[in-house]
């Protein structure tokens, strides 16, 4: 049975059909649970190998979990991941999502920043071609004081690729001193792509700062001229820029060994 699992907290106009993509999935997800002790630091790399994964993480005081999820062209055609993390005081949760294409991918990732000073980073990189679909809903729920969130995404759409990104920063009452930012860059390489972005900021607290910025389009002409003046053809320049979108996400992985492994395998 088809169902939409990654509904956002606040919805936009109905006629944009941005409420999520209905996917056909097994009844029961494969469940993974991470419980991090105070101060514990862990990095996990998961390559999408089953269609439906449910991940729950609890981070105690000062814990840090870096969850790197990679969709490779060799994995299942359609995958769905539902990720939810709860952060205690000063805990940090980071979700790095890398999509090296893939037929249909739906993600739901939310982090509840309950503990004072806790933080969440979502770093999403994707490159889609053909008629492939990526539908992602990412939520930072600020309940604790002085919490911080960043939702970053950079991607490339070619052919008839279709991407829908819903990002929500939700400042709940009481999260005084919280800071949230969202930034999105999408490089469009074909006339037949579709890109939908719904960057939401909900604010029920006075003492917060929220920002959002998005830039969607083809490569800047002045930039192409500059690159071509150094001898690159237009195709080479565009390819370099496209590769840079994913490389930028990979480069932000702090663990050098993992970073190099991913670079080696996919870039």
């Amino acid at each position: 049975m088809k169902k939409i699992i990654n509904k956002p907290i606040a919805e936009t106009f109905g006629w944009l059909h941005a409420g999520g993509t209905a996917v056909d999935l097994p009844e029961e997800p494969e469940k993974i649970r991470y419980v991090l002790a105070p101060g514990e630091t862990r990095t996990v790399v998961l390559e999408d190998s089953v269609p439906y994964t449910e991940i729950r993480a609890e981070l105690s005081e000062g814990a840090s979990l870096h969850f790197i999820e990679v969709k490779s062209p060799d994995g299942p055609e359609k995958t769905y991941a539902d990720i939810h993390a709860v952060c205690g005081k000063d805990a940090h949760f980071c979700w790095t999502r890398l999509l090296f294409d893939g037929r249909e991918t739906c993600d739901n990732c939310s982090a509840e920043l309950a503990g004072e000073g806790s933080s969440f980073t979502a770093d999403i990189g994707y490159r889609l071609s053909s008629d492939h679909i990526y539908d992602v809903n990412c939520e930072a729920i600020h309940t604790g004081k002085r919490t911080e969130s960043r939702i970053l995404s950079s991607g490339v759409l070619a052919d008839e690729a279709d991407k829908l990104l819903r990002g929500t920063i939700d400042f709940r009452n009481g999260c005084a001193g919280a800071v949230g930012s969202e930034s999105e860059e999408v490089l469009l390489l074909s006339e037949n792509i579709r890109n939908r972005s719904v960057p939401v900021i909900l604010c029920d607290e006075e003492d917060v700062v929220g920002n959002h910025g998005a830039s969607i389009g083809r490569p800047d002409e002045e930039l192409l001229y500059y690159m071509e003046s150094r001898g690159l053809s237009e195709e080479e320049a565009v390819e370099l820029l496209a590769a840079a979108k994913l490389a930028a996400v990979v480069n932000r992985i702090p663990d050098e060994k993992i970073r190099e492994e991913i670079r080696e395998k996919y870039l």
């Binding site: 690159m227 071509e228 150094r230 370099l240 979108k245």
Partner: protein, 250 residues
């Protein structure tokens, strides 16, 4: 090398149907350094853009030849592959691509050969040291968040790495402090050692020229070369400015 390394004859060009350059004649030989001076809005940057093939400019008359080949039909990157290099007045930010990766990609594209990362890194470091830039700049996205001076230095750095046969420096000295001008001109002197390459320096300021060998100076006013001469012209401009030439055309 052959005579007529770069030969510009009766070149006219403009933007959006408005002519900016009128019948420019200029011949540069290998091993020479030419300086183009002129007041703001004279068309100096337009000339650089036309040489590089900036699509914003339209050539409306005359001919452009480089090493015996007409440039008109060549795209920007083909001109670059033939050895033309332009140091931009306002270098563009290239997000996501580090200075080192960018320079390596452009060099590989030009030679068609893979370059060994480690060897190249050493070369980049050497060039960074020579230009008194911190080595960390190699890893930074090209021009992103660079100060005005750092951007200009990064242009000279690319020139040294790419080893073009004709380099055009468009106001590379503007916005630099005294120390930076000295560093940049040291880099330019390094480039001048290549006797098979030529250099065109566009400037309205004599400071960068004081320590460089200059063969010819051209004064560009309102899209026309009004006077050409030797290095003595630089001193004259330094003393008197461009007013004499501006009156001349009026």
């Amino acid at each position: 090398m052959s005579e007529h390394f770069l030969k510009i004859k009766e070149l006219s060009a403009g933007v959006d149907g408005k002519e900016i350059l009128h019948k420019i004649d200029l011949a540069v030989n290998a091993g020479e350094t030419h300086v183009i001076m002129g007041p703001n809005g004279a068309g100096k940057s337009s000339l650089a853009g036309v040489l590089m093939g900036n699509p914003n400019y339209e050539v409306t008359g005359g001919t452009l030849e480089f090493k015996g080949e007409a440039l008109d039909a060549l795209s920007v990157n083909e001109r670059a592959k033939r050895g033309i290099f332009l140091s931009f007045q306002n270098p563009v930010e290239v997000p996501g691509i580090s200075l080192e990766n960018f320079a390596r990609s452009t060099l590989e594209s030009r030679t068609g050969e893979k370059i060994r990362i480690w060897n190249f890194r050493k070369e980049v470091q050497k060039a960074l040291d020579a230009l008194e830039m911190d080595r960390s700049y190699a890893e930074r996205d090209l021009n992103v968040g660079f100060s005005g001076g750092e951007k200009k230095k990064a242009e000279v750095l690319q020139m040294l790495l790419l080893k073009p046969s004709l380099a055009i420096l468009d106001e590379t000295d503007s916005g630099l402090d005294v120390d930076a001008v000295r560093t940049v001109s040291r880099g330019v002197r390094e480039f001048q050692k290549d006797k098979e390459a030529a250099l065109i320096i566009i400037t309205h300021n004599a400071a960068i020229l004081s320590s460089l060998k200059v063969d010819k100076v051209h004064i560009l006013v309102d899209g026309r070369i009004v006077t050409s001469g030797g290095p003595e012209l630089i001193e004259k401009i330094g003393r008197e400015g461009f007013s004499e030439f501006e009156e001349k055309k009026a």
